[in-house]
Point group: C2
Chain length 120, copies 2
């Protein structure tokens, strides 16, 4: 990841509606959600406003889209999110992992949410 891409991604994430969209899509999984469904999940969001923010997010590489019938489905681009984190933390500990282990733990913990969540 290059600096320009990271700047665009952070700028995209610094807006309330867009941050909510990304987090919503992160929990929605690979299937994603239609633009309309995303709009309904947001408070008072006109369709043109949704389109503005979704295209902003796609431009930044944070979400991906595909047409499905009359709807367009959006999903989170986890690869970009991963690269963004790696870009930000590069050389964070320089041989002293104990300095940044908390960050790794924080991210790892999100992958082991609630035991008993028999989602499978």
């Amino acid at each position: 990841m290059h600096e320009k891409q990271a700047l665009d991604a952070f700028a995209a994430l610094s807006q309330e509606t867009r941050l909510r969209i990304v987090r919503r899509l992160v929990t929605a999984g690979p299937e994603g959600m239609s633009a309309g469904a995303i709009g309904e999940a947001m408070d008072s969001a006109s369709s043109s406003r949704m389109s503005f923010h979704l295209s902003h997010l796609e431009q930044a590489g944070l979400v991906e889209s595909r047409r499905e019938g009359r709807s367009i489905m959006y999903s989170a681009a986890l690869v970009t999110l991963s690269n963004l984190v790696a870009f930000l933390m590069r050389d964070c500990c320089q041989g002293h992992p104990e300095v940044c282990n908390p960050a790794v733990a924080a991210l790892s913990s999100c992958c082991e949410p609630t035991k008993g969540a028999s989602h499978v």
Copy 2:
């Protein structure tokens, strides 16, 4: 971490000079750098501009400062960075760790540049 804090942090990171400062401080380690040294590491940065951006970063909780003689030392707030990552990725896989393991791997890899580093 709350949404407002995350928004402030992302906004702070979406500016070229500030992103460079944070990454520079991440590699500088816990001791940090003086405001002047940071300014010298940036291209054409006036003292008032550095002050503006550093105070912005401190407000967002991304850096911490302490006075040391005539200088003020700034260091990266890794805890905030960790929380930010965790906030963004919360519920990223919902019981399917394989979905977000790449993100964990990306962050982990930055912590193991030299395997077998001795403890401090």
